[in-house]
């Protein structure tokens, strides 16, 4: 972040901000104000920031395997693999969900018929749903969603929200969502403006 990009910000300008589970946070800002950067700093995939993050984003894979789960803005799916293989790529690593549980998720979000299709053939909205399911295939204390619902209609958005809420409750985990504008998909505890 260069200094010029910093405007009056609840996060970047304050001496410290705490995110704790199981609270739900919304971070709002316009494009280019560093929403994704903030999540990347926390996730440990972008080390170029000034300041401290506690606990320190760990460069070991455990941090990303069992502490945080992240639905990236660009999703970072593997387009040449099928939906199922994309999910298994994660789940084989974490051994967190059974095949049946994953099938239930797919069914619940209405993409069970696409399981064997390559991700590159899917629409953006369908891909977002795949990415969310993938994020659930691992243990976490905080779930990071970077503008997750940009390509979803209200009914699908509600389905995903219900699924995520249920998972958060069962894991007693927190949520960090970024959004361009106001958002009422989840019952946020705190809202920050960048």
């Amino acid at each position: 972040m260069s200094e010029a990009e910093l405007s009056a910000s609840d996060v970047y300008m304050s001496p410290s901000v705490t995110f704790e589970s199981p609270k739900r946070y919304l971070i709002r800002a316009e494009s280019g104000h560093g929403k994704s950067s903030l999540l990347n700093f926390i996730f440990g995939s972008n080390p170029s920031f000034v300041g401290d993050i506690n606990p320190k984003p760990n460069s070991s894979e455990e941090w990303r395997k069992s502490m945080l789960s992240y639905v990236f803005q660009d999703l970072k799916l593997f387009p040449e693999l099928s939906v199922w293989d994309n999910l298994q790529l994660k789940n084989r690593l974490t051994q967190h969900k059974t095949d049946d549980e994953i099938k239930v998720y797919l069914n619940e979000l209405g993409i069970d018929s696409k399981a064997n299709e390559k991700v590159e053939k899917l629409s953006l909205g369908q891909r977002q749903r795949v990415a969310v399911i993938r994020a659930l295939c691992q243990p976490f204390h905080m779930l990071l969603l970077d503008e997750p619902f940009s390509h979803l209609d209200d009914s699908n958005r509600a389905k995903i929200a219900a699924l995520i809420e249920r998972e958060l409750d069962s894991r007693n985990a927190g949520l960090l969502v970024t959004s361009l504008g106001p958002d009422d998909t989840f019952n946020y505890d705190i809202e920050y403006r960048l």
Binding site: E61, S66, F72, K90
Partner: protein
């Protein structure tokens, strides 16, 4: 599979094949060479002065002066200079002839050269004070002379080298008012040297014990050369009017040529192998660059660098294993051909087979190196 990987595999097969063949051929052919080079170090030659009308009158002319020996020692292409020691006492060989116990006496002469010029197994070529058995090296021509000339005409049995080696005969040394009986045993044959050699230690002792006290002068010098084809050496010989047993040097030249060609092939093999290694290193870089995003995504998903590397390491290790195995198979086939050639032309046999061990070593080193490279690349 990318084209670079196939290129790597092919160049690896060629490189490893050459390395294996050269390394094994060196082992397999060594006995052939050392056998032909006989008891002398391969790159040694004998230097004498020309015997002329004048030297018949003045015998001193055939001896080398110490200045001349020093001059030879100073030449950069001459490794070592050794002088012949000759016996300054009388020697008789005594042989029992037939069953009647009749004995035949014959005058004999002994010479010795510094041990470093003699390439005989240590045990046989050893003499210590008090030993009555004297090891002897005789010219190979002597056996031929006996077998094809003497034995033929006299109806005596022919002898092989090994029969002669097992055979001890009486020797009488006398001089300085003493005379004692010893036994001589032939332990080796020489193609290069027309003389009867005994160990240097024995000669020194015997000269001190039986000698007439004459100063030891050298009419023949043994020299060992780094490169027998060096032109400066031939020039020096011609300028000083020395004589080199050039015919005998032929073997040294052959030996040198063989060594050079082995070295050249080994060099070529190494270059090809290094090229193939460079090839793969480049391919790894390319592959990693192409897969940069995938690697990054996998890492973000929680895969460790070690886990991501493993996929690439498996491919490369598998490829290396295939290449080395094919090279090993080719080298084995080649060696079998060489073995047939050896036994049919040179009557020599193959030595122990180290091919698989070399191949294993190459495989371990290569796959280890590349695994490390991949890991470094994935991590960066």
């Amino acid at each position: 599979m990318p084209l670079q990987l196939i290129g790597y595999a092919v160049s690896l097969v060629i490189g490893v094949f050459l390395v294996l063949v050269v390394a094994q051929a060196y082992i397999d052919l060594r006995p052939v060479l050392s056998e032909q080079a006989e008891v002398f170090e391969s790159e040694s030659a004998i230097l004498t002065k020309k015997v002329s009308v004048f030297s018949s009158v003045d015998k001193g002319r055939i001896y080398f002066t110490s200045d001349e020996i020093d001059e030879l020692r100073e030449q950069p292409y001459i490794d070592e200079v050794g002088a012949f020691n000759s016996a300054s006492f009388q020697i008789w060989a005594v042989a029992e002839v037939g069953q009647s116990g009749q004995s035949v006496r014959s005058d004999l002469f002994f010479e010795s050269v510094p041990n470093r010029f003699v390439d005989v197994q240590d045990e046989a070529w050893k003499w210590e004070d008090g030993d009555t058995l004297i090891p002897i090296i005789v010219p190979k021509d002597y056996i031929d002379l006996y077998n094809f000339g003497f034995a033929e005409s006299q109806g005596l049995p022919v002898m092989s080298e090994s029969t002669v080696k097992g055979f001890a005969f009486k020797i009488i040394l006398s001089g300085a008012g003493k005379s004692n009986q010893y036994y001589g045993a032939v332990v080796g044959f020489s193609n290069k040297l027309n003389s009867i050699l005994v160990p240097d230690e024995f000669m020194q002792w015997a000269n001190a014990t039986y000698g007439m006290g004459e100063e030891n002068r050298s009419s023949r010098l043994l020299i060992s050369l780094d490169d027998p084809t060096d032109e400066r050496f031939l020039t020096l010989i011609n300028e000083n009017g020395y004589v080199l047993n050039e015919e005998k040097l032929e073997q040294s030249r052959l030996n040198f040529l063989f060594k050079s060609s082995i070295q050249f092939t080994a060099f070529l093999a190494l270059v090809i192998m290094i090229l193939s290694i460079g090839f793969l290193s480049l391919s790894i870089n390319l592959m990693m660059q192409k897969h940069e995003k995938v690697i990054r995504n996998l890492w973000l998903m929680g895969y460790s660098h070690v886990q991501i590397s493993r996929f690439y390491q498996l491919i490369i290790t598998g490829l290396t294993l295939t290449g080395v195995t094919i090279a090993l198979m080719l080298a084995t086939i080649f060696r079998a051909e060489l073995g047939e050639l050896l036994s049919s032309t040179l009557k020599s046999e193959l030595q122990q087979n180290w091919l698989w061990l070399y191949a294993l070593g190459i495989f371990i080193v290569l796959s280890g190196f590349f695994s490390w490279r991949v890991y470094r690349k994935v991590k960066s």
